[in-house]
């Protein structure tokens, strides 16, 4: 299984970096390939909302920076992990910047899924999506929003399987490792669109 980890930890967040490390080690121990992007250290410009990745250079962002490589890494993987400190229930700015640049992975054309309008897929296969949110302590409202957001992202990215899990900064490493293991999808969870 090829796993792409998008680590949205902000500067100084050693805890979230540690979660990325645990996850990478777990996936490697299962015989998988892991690519971790520590997004705060990468040169990624923000999405300009120009839609040139749909209408001028279809499938490729006009901005030639690491954002392109991250999008390629997402579509190349069997599993993409959005790892982030939960920020008002959503993703950190570091993760959101990379996620915004992933719209080149779908088509501008519309379709309907369960009566709701979405974009059509661009590729035949997409990775599974695992969202991992980090919180200082339980916050039910933010946890519900985070879970919903991961689910909505999975729907729009054509991820056949999706899960989300919350880990707390007060949890011991062994507990976190257990939570991550149980959240990881089986190796064959990948979509053929």
């Amino acid at each position: 299984m090829k796993t792409t980890i998008l680590n949205g930890a902000l500067p100084g967040d050693n805890f979230t970096d540690g979660v990325a490390q645990i996850l990478a080690e777990q996936q490697a121990a299962r015989g998988g390939q892991v690519r971790t992007w520590t997004l705060r250290d990468e040169k990624v410009a923000y999405c300009l909302g120009c839609f040139e990745c749909w209408t001028k250079s279809p499938g490729i962002c006009r901005i030639d920076d690491t954002g392109r490589a991250i999008a390629a890494s997402i579509i190349a993987g069997d599993l993409v992990v959005y790892l982030t400190p939960v920020t008002f229930g959503g993703y950190s700015s570091a993760l959101k910047k990379a996620v915004d640049r992933s719209i080149c992975l779908v088509s501008p054309f519309f379709t309907q899924i369960d009566g709701e309008v979405h974009h059509q897929p661009r590729y035949r296969r997409y990775p599974a999506l695992l969202g991992i949110g980090v919180l200082p302590a339980p916050q039910p409202a933010q946890e519900r929003i985070f879970s919903t957001l991961v689910g909505r992202n999975a729907l729009n990215l054509y991820a056949r399987s999706q899960r989300s899990v919350i880990v707390y900064r007060s949890q011991p490493a062994a507990e976190i490792a257990k939570a991550l293991r149980s959240a990881l999808p089986a190796s064959d969870e990948r979509i053929a669109a």
Binding site: T55, P58, A76, G90, E116, I145, L149
Partner: protein, 230 residues
């Protein structure tokens, strides 16, 4: 909520000034607030975060505003990066203040999908921000088919955006009176601008025209990263 005297409108779109639906919505609401006696300032998040000095100016502007209004486009089911970063900085700034100013926060989201409810998660994120930043939540307005506005001014009297203008009129009246956005405004804003089928057809024609102009009509469904995909 007390009646506000000042308002700051932050345009959360990355598009250049004058080109975004977010700015159209924010500016219209600002005009309605001005008509009710408020002093209104407008900032663009892309400019405001460009340098530490401008970011500090944004924080000061929010501190001195009774009303803080964020108008943003939906990117991948949530607020765009620039808006997230602005909210992160604002919350961090206010969390270390002994007594942050009693600011009221309202959010206006718009998305390219015809259904306004795609914006729901983003508005819930905004509500959580309000709590984290010790602001009073005045509610969120969600607009679908935002692409149909296309940077054009809202028409209050007729045309497809009249109920959007009406929603913002009602919101301005409520905010000026120290109240949250009324349910009627939320409902009006979420009404379809045009029939869904027409919007989808127009959208698809629009993508094809742009692609044709760019000489890539035959490549609209290209899979340039297919070598990476298994």
């Amino acid at each position: 909520m007390r009646s506000p005297k000042t308002a700051l409108i932050l345009v959360g779109s990355a598009k250049p000034a004058g080109q975004s639906t977010s700015e159209v919505l924010g500016r219209y609401l600002g005009q309605q607030l001005q008509a009710r006696g408020l002093s209104v300032a407008t900032m663009h998040v892309a400019r405001a975060l460009r340098t530490p000095e401008r970011t500090a100016a944004l924080l000061r502007a929010v501190d001195s505003a009774d009303l803080f209004i964020l108008a943003f486009p939906l990117y991948v089911d949530a607020l765009p990066y620039l808006a997230v970063e602005a909210l992160e900085r604002l919350a961090a700034h206010r969390q270390v203040m002994p007594a942050p100013a009693p600011t009221t926060f309202l959010a206006i989201a718009n998305c390219g999908f015809p259904e306004a409810h795609h914006n729901q998660t983003a508005l819930e994120i905004c509500e959580q921000f309000a709590a984290a930043a010790a602001m009073t939540w005045a509610g969120g307005l969600a607009l679908g088919a935002g692409g149909a506005v296309h940077g054009q001014p809202l028409a209050a009297e007729n045309g497809m955006t009249r109920h959007v203008a009406r929603a913002l009129d009602l919101t301005a009246a409520a905010l000026a009176a120290g109240e949250a956005a009324p349910a009627e405004a939320v409902s009006l804003m979420a009404q379809p601008l045009i029939p869904q089928r027409m919007y989808l057809v127009m959208g698809e024609i629009g993508w094809r025209i742009q692609a044709l102009r760019n000489g890539v009509l035959h490549r609209l469904r290209a899979r340039p990263l297919a070598n990476h995909a298994q």
